[in-house]
Symmetry: C2
Subunit: 418 residues, 2 copies
């Protein structure tokens, strides 16, 4: 799965480098750069030792790389959201400290010794598991994206937020370790009329959602690790539900109970919220799967092009709740012409994918777009195509193509093209 | 690559769960558990909001999950080592904050604005790159383990360190984003007599190693991201060399220069250090590739079995500098009988792999061993087999099979079996 440099594109890239690389780097004999001609502090003095940071943290020079909220969206921070700084990241793994947050009653601070998971309802034997009990079931490791249904929601009514962190940052992509939910349900014994489950959070909002038993028995995980270590408090420590490919609010955090029932519960977060209001005023419920989507992370409004012209790397991320992303197209002229991007990194089911497009920028303005194709053949639509079907009443499930306008100074902004 | 639950082992696992699962969980009607019958603090009060932690950190209940050093190894912390807590992790990704450290002159605190990378020596055009220059070359994303040549080195003379963190914790496994070194060398133009490169660190030790040009042009990366975000200072911020599958000291951190030459330099860290002293007093140089190796992380001396008997999950990690790990065997009787472990998670080239072995513990003492097979057909040797060839003078490249003795109380210790 790891990409080796021996791709068919190697010849193209090598040619591009031979042509462009020399214009990128300075000749070493260019005199007068004190960063070369003078010894730096860090080369002449001993640095901190191994006991300085038993748990490490980023360089002080990276302090700008952080989750951010939007003031007018976050009047109440305990029932609010912040955003992953996609424009500062690369590859496909989101570091745990930068995974966006969405809380309905703030971060529950759960003592793992007092953690319990109950399974009740239409089961042969209602059961209660401690954290140690869960660790005695077989585990799996899988990388999955989690996207909030409201990601890009502010963009339904036109370009509003100036940065991919804000337009697309309600997503993260993490390797989970957990027990397949199926194993726990099989242990309790689901009765023949058990057709739905309702996971419930231990936070003060007691978050609940209805999930069909087929999904619960298919690929859901009762997860306790993210990227190798314990879940972070803001991501459901000690246990959250992983519902691959489905909208983020179903991935119940601090999960304390799973009820098995014969029909959905129609609770608040699947009726009043997280439903799609259509043009005619009717609301569509249970839009679980996240459709294929992509965004260019660099350049973008928070990440301008820092050189005047010449070899330029465009990059972004793409994902689909229905499978993998075999292909992403990129346009630099607002969708008139498209070129296939280069994918790099593991292509995993219901996981974020990374794409690149290297081009020789002539210094003139650009209209950048990306368009994801998923493994089912589905192609990411334009915003116009989405609105034609969905109207403009929606908040959720906006997977339309994003456009960045880049001016001749390399500065980008959020725009729409007709 | 993601494992789905629909493996051939599903029948076996489901059977094991039906048999053992009910003994693991408590019946829900077992009264008197206040964690179930009483409302917990986190369920009745609002938690912290989204602005509390712009860059997140682990739960306070996970404070014991940290890098540790060994006092008698670390008289001088700036030229020393600490260890990854493998027994606290799962999956295959090592979180950045827990990646082990090995410094020769402490942690260089490099200002990225003053960072430069020079390529000189046997090239057509000596070049200097800023960090922004590097970002204009095509990038790749790959997951690779980095293992110190001295990992398990203290075990050459018998079982010494009581915990996999200390015996095997000089390893981490991370997704890197970087520019293939080949692109930079091709830009400078390697002369026909350029057969070796020498990367050099910007820290006060000016760490250097000789690397053959074939490896440099094959799969080395000039990396600036790990697990999505900037390299950590202790891992070479802002730029380190990635030398997939080869011993960790070659992965030069804070890399400021690459010299191209016609022969190896035979510097200190490839002559006085990081060579293998044989029985006859001769030293083998340039033992670059890390052979296949594995270790059981749980149970282990720092991670006892916490129940008396019944369904038990054994897990561990395996890796090879020569490819992937298609198979790991596990023994619970000191190598007399072996069973094939279950692999879970992406199988990536020169990356850590995760294995599990679920068994029904009868409560009697165990002698746990794991044995990795790599994709070249190589099988991890016993310590006796290694010593028969290598003697006992070595410090480096100990990939022998590790044994943990587990007593009837579930407590494990580091032992050797003949």
């Amino acid at each position: 799965m790891n990409e080796t440099p021996k791709t068919s594109r190697r010849g193209f890239l090598a040619g591009a480098i031979a042509a462009g690389g020399a214009t990128v780097a300075a000749k070493a004999n260019a005199a007068g750069d004190p960063a070369i001609t003078e010894l730096q502090d860090w080369s002449v003095a001993l640095g901190e030792g191994v006991d300085a940071r038993p748990y490490g943290y980023p360089s002080e020079y990276e302090a700008h790389v952080k989750r951010r909220s939007v003031e007018w969206l976050t009047a109440d921070p305990v029932s609010s959201v912040n955003f992953t700084p996609l424009h500062e990241l690369d590859g496909i793994i989101t570091p745990n400290g930068l995974c966006f947050e969405r809380h309905h009653a703030g971060i529950a601070d759960v003592d793992p010794a007092k953690y319990r998971l109950m399974i009740n309802g239409l089961v042969d034997t209602p059961l209660v598991f401690t954290l140690q009990d869960l660790m005695r079931f077989p585990r799996e490791n899988r990388v999955h994206f989690l996207e909030c249904a409201a990601n890009s929601g502010m963009e339904w009514r036109g370009a509003q937020l100036n940065g991919c962190q804000f337009t697309h940052g309600m997503i993260h992509n993490v390797m989970y370790t957990g027990v397949p939910l199926r194993y726990l349900l099989e242990t309790a014994g689901v009765k023949t009329n058990g057709k739905w489950i309702m996971p419930e959070g231990a936070d003060a909002s007691a978050m609940t959602r209805s999930i069909p038993i087929e999904k619960a028995m298919d690929d859901c995980l009762v997860a306790f690790k993210m990227n190798g270590e314990a879940l972070r408090p803001e991501q459901g420590y000690p246990v959250r539900l992983v519902v691959p490919g489905w909208e983020g609010n179903m991935w119940v955090k601090w999960m304390r109970r799973i009820e098995v029932g014969d029909q959905p519960w129609h609770h608040r977060e699947e009726t009043s919220k997280y439903t799609d209001l259509f043009k005619d005023g009717k609301a569509r419920r249970f839009t679980w799967e996240m459709d294929a989507k992509s965004v260019i992370t660099n350049p973008s409004p928070q990440s301008p092009i820092l050189h005047k012209s010449g070899p330029t790397v465009l990059t972004g991320v793409a994902w689909s709740g229905r499978g993998t992303i075999p292909r992403v197209d990129v346009s630099i002229d607002g969708g008139k012409n498209w070129a296939e991007a280069r994918m790099s990194g593991p292509s995993l089911d219901k996981s974020m994918h990374r794409f690149y497009y290297e081009f020789d920028w002539d210094g003139s303005p650009l209209l950048l777009q990306s368009r994801a194709h998923d493994s089912t053949g589905y192609v990411q639509p334009t915003k116009s195509e989405l609105r034609a079907i969905r109207g403009e009443n929606s908040i959720y499930h906006n997977n339309g193509i994003q456009t960045w306008y880049v001016n001749e100074k390399g500065i980008a902004e959020n725009v729409e093209v007709s």
